[in-house]
């Protein structure tokens, strides 16, 4: 109730109106948070997905060594 009273005073409105505004703000924030979480989950699942053939084969030590160093060389 304290937040509603403070907001009501700031906006020059009733406490009931402030409660409604706070509730709407909370719902909107919650929806934004859920959207971000959903996007992150979908994207991470996509990144982690690999084909079966790729999942059951492994790089050689030479391939991996070359790959690790290539990021430090000029393109």
């Amino acid at each position: 109730m304290h937040a509603a009273r403070v907001l009501a005073q700031e906006l020059g409105t009733s406490t009931n109106d402030a409660i409604v505004r706070l509730a709407e703000g909370g719902i909107a924030a919650s929806e934004r948070r859920r959207l971000v979480e959903r996007l992150a989950r979908e994207r991470r699942e996509t990144v982690a997905r690999v084909g079966f053939a790729d999942a059951v084969s492994f790089p050689t030590p030479d391939e991996l060594r070359t790959a690790m160093l290539s990021g430090r060389r000029e393109p």
């Binding site: 703000g25 924030a29 959903r38 989950r41 994207r43 996509t46 990021g71």
Partner: protein, 151 residues
């Protein structure tokens, strides 16, 4: 952003509203590097670095880590586009431009993997990165890029 300006005010308001602004870890790295370098070269102390350190390690912002998924995406983006495609816009030597490009790839990948939008003054490069992300992962929503808010 600097102490007392509109961006800091915006950041404080967002934190007070329970929706703190998110910074990617590579963005924090970039700013900390710039402030530390300036402090070393000017010898004028590191008040700015101290201010940013307090901010970046506080609850006023959320720092998005560059974790496994984000790092894989950044690496794949760099392999596809190792140098900035919009070279005309960037200042600095070629190595500096490339270092900036790698940071931008990390920032974009980090934000995308955490489900966030990038707000930037550098629309051309980040729009280009968004296209690269969309080409790599066409089945999911691409990186959203917006202009940094004019405050």
């Amino acid at each position: 952003m600097f102490p007392g300006n509109a961006y800091e005010q915006h950041l404080l308001e967002r934190a007070a509203a329970g929706e703190p602004v998110a910074l990617t870890a590579p963005s924090v790295l970039e700013v900390a590097y710039g402030l530390a370098k300036a402090a070393h070269s000017s010898g004028s102390g590191d008040a700015a670095l101290a201010w940013f350190t307090r901010l970046a390690t506080s609850d006023l912002v959320v720092t998005l880590p560059l974790d496994g998924a984000g790092a894989v995406v950044a690496g794949r983006l760099r392999a596809v586009q190792p140098v900035p495609p919009t070279g005309l816009r960037r200042a600095g030597t070629k190595p500096e431009q490339r270092a900036g490009w790698v940071l931008d790839l990390q920032i974009a990948a980090c934000a995308w993997a955490h489900g966030h939008t990038v707000a930037t003054d550098n629309r051309r490069d980040f729009d280009a990165i968004s296209d690269l992300v969309a080409a790599l992962y066409p089945s999911v929503q691409a990186l959203e890029v917006i202009d940094a808010p004019a405050l």
